[in-house]
């Protein structure tokens, strides 16, 4: 992970050339321009290094034994972690078709050998600046979106609009939170929320879920979107169990500090959801909508009346093994639902 902005540290460049004199000379020139360099004598070695270490750019010769430059470009394009890495081809290959092939395979530029040092310097500067901006964007996406959403964006690109996915949706919130906020200093509330969210995020993402909304003391999580899960219902229920355990541990700690304890309510529903990016092209969010989402929210709210911390709908129950530890609560008329709904409570 790049934690420092590229502009504040020397760039790290990999020089790939089977000719040792050319390799040394190129690396020397780059060092004199203030860059850090490493060298590889063929494509295979280069790929190994690129997969193990962090580089900002590659200067790639084309004609090499074992694995040539074209094969390296082909591999890089297929690698989600490496496909954005800028590559400048330095080659003595003649013919526009070779240049075109390199550019089509994702190379930033094609410089003919012997490489003009002024041109090279300009191209490296421009490419590194582009990479710095791209890294900054990625970092922003990473910080404000979940890694699954970031990965989905990286793989499929951004487009408003949704598609149908079978997923499990979870809503969770802290019982009696409003009264709690009123009875304690604001710092303590923020502290409590941060710890609480950290614990819940760990439990949810540890089970493959994605937290896509946080509002006050409540959160919404999706299991099975944007990336599919083999067993969304099972994963959501596993996360719920873990969340309850986490809260118990958290409460034990708070009790020992003489502080009030918290209780949470969780509702889980499974079914078709419409998932995708909503909003405008300028400001969008990944979300899920549909009856399943609505039902999960209603179930969460119903935990107050049912006096059970985790409630499931019928479809979630059916996704679990027979001995999953679930009590049927019969049919319940939930607010906002036309007909009664089968509700199950998880034994915790």
């Amino acid at each position: 992970m790049t934690t420092q902005p590229a502009s504040r540290r020397p760039a790290r460049l990999l020089v790939v050339d089977d000719n040792k004199v050319n390799r040394l000379l190129m690396a020397r020139g780059l060092q004199q321009q203030g860059h850090n360099t490493a060298t590889a004598e063929n494509g295979r070695v280069a790929l190994e290094m690129l997969r193990q270490e962090e580089f900002d750019m590659v200067l790639l010769d084309m004609e090499m034994p074992e694995m040539d430059g074209f094969q390296v470009l082909e591999q890089l394009v297929k690698d989600t972690k490496l496909r954005d890495l800028p590559v400048i081809v330095t080659s003595s290959l003649e013919g526009i078709e070779n240049v075109v092939r390199c550019i089509e395979l994702g190379a930033e530029d094609f410089l003919t050998k012997p490489v003009n040092p002024v041109l090279l310097k300009a191209r490296i500067g421009a490419s590194l600046e582009k990479k710095r901006l791209r890294d900054m964007q990625k970092e922003l996406v990473r910080r404000f979106a979940t890694s699954e959403v970031a990965q989905d964006l990286a793989q499929s690109g951004f487009a408003l609009g949704g598609h149908h996915i079978r997923a499990s949706v979870m809503f969770s919130d802290i019982r009696g939170f409003t009264q709690m906020v009123e009875s304690q200093p604001p710092d303590e509330t923020i502290d409590l929320l941060n710890t609480y969210y950290t614990l819940m995020f760990d439990a949810i993402s540890g089970c493959g879920g994605v937290v896509n909304q946080m509002v006050g003391d409540g959160l919404m999580a999706i299991f099975g979107a944007p990336l599919p899960l083999p067993d969304p219902a099972g994963s959501a229920v596993a996360a719920a169990r873990e969340m309850i355990e986490m809260v118990e541990l958290f409460n034990a700690e708070r009790t020992s500090l003489g502080k009030s304890t918290i209780r949470i309510g969780i509702g889980i529903a499974t079914g078709e959801v419409v998932a995708g990016y909503t909003g405008t092209n300028e400001r969008a969010t990944y979300t899920c909508v549909g009856d399943t989402v609505n039902l999960a929210a209603r179930l969460e709210s119903h935990t107050k009346e049912a006096l059970r911390p985790v409630l499931l709908d019928g479809a979630t129950r059916e996704g679990l093994p027979a001995d999953a530890g679930v009590d049927p609560l019969g049919e319940v008329q939930l607010k906002g639902k036309a007909g009664p709904v089968r509700v199950f409570a998880l034994k915790v």
Partner: protein
Amino acid sequence: MTIDRDTFKALQDTAGADFVVELVDAFLEEAPIMFESMRSGLAERDPDKFRRAAHSLKSNANTFGATGLAALAKELELSGLQAALDRPDALGPARAEYERVAAALKEIR
């Protein structure tokens, strides 16, 4: 003239004299391998192998200002495998020039 002194001096000025020592050593290490590739390229009738090795030799010779060696290597590269096969001892002149270049480089590096 085996080595063009202006070219060699310019290389020392831009890359640094200490570094050029290292660079010369690399060349003296690699050039025999390039000759071997040309030889085996001929023996195996592998035109790409032959051409690549001649090309590398040419490019490195140019780096050090070994203009005569570069010209001989360029001729081998451009005329290709078949022309070299047709000529007895096609690599001979380049080998002989390389020996002179190697001696001169050891002298002036």
